[in-house]
Symmetry: C2
Subunit: 129 residues, 2 copies
């Protein structure tokens, strides 16, 4: 199976979906911290502002990475959840975590000692689809 079977580059395509600032941070907080709500993201994502957060959430919903559900209570409640497609980004997320945990232990860990993803998240290598 050769590279000739490609019409466009899958890496370029993926980058267009997740490459914008904060997109992976939102995915991270949904996948690893189980955050679901607007102000939760706003309060816990480094340096994000409501305008940008709103824009990212809309893009991600349009791309099918997340779902948006409105609960008509007072006060209103809106929850965002990862779709199965969004969950498939966890492989990228873990590889990203692994890279910094290996190469930047002093910045990443309080005690400065490197750890593996398996140690921290108790997870094994994500399958390649």
């Amino acid at each position: 199976m050769s590279l000739n079977s490609f019409k466009c580059c899958p890496i370029d395509n993926t980058f267009k979906i997740i490459g914008k600032k904060f997109t992976m941070h939102i995915i991270r907080n949904m996948a690893m911290k189980e955050h679901t709500r607007f102000n939760q993201f706003l309060d816990h994502i480094e340096e994000i502002n409501p305008k940008t957060l709103s824009a990212r959430l809309k893009e991600m919903e349009k791309a099918g990475l997340i779902s948006r559900e409105v609960y008509d209570e007072t006060p209103i409640r809106v929850e965002y959840h990862l779709t199965n497609k969004g969950k498939d980004l966890q492989g990228i997320l873990l590889q990203m975590a692994a890279f910094s945990m290996k190469h930047y232990p002093k910045q990443v860990f309080k005690d400065g000692k490197a750890r593996t993803v398996k140690q921290v998240f108790n997870i094994s290598s994500p399958k390649l689809n």
Copy 2:
């Protein structure tokens, strides 16, 4: 092992290194097409221009992802190669490819049929460090 051992987020840290436009494209061409030279990147990376390419290469060298070697011939020859650290980004690269190959087969493949990374690259899941 809990999330409390983190000083800063490894995903955020990685994103700061590879999140800029074209960085992963350069890594891709080095890792998968064995490109090594300035004009090779310039000619084969979609929409890049010399100024941005130059900036990315410098950042990447400074970050220790690539090495720069000058061969004093006429005309001068300069080669860029992935360091071991740069090679450790291949796991992310493969996960990125896998995502689009699974979810966007019609955009990615000429025949529109999904393939796995294993089928295309004859490679198994990258290890998580």
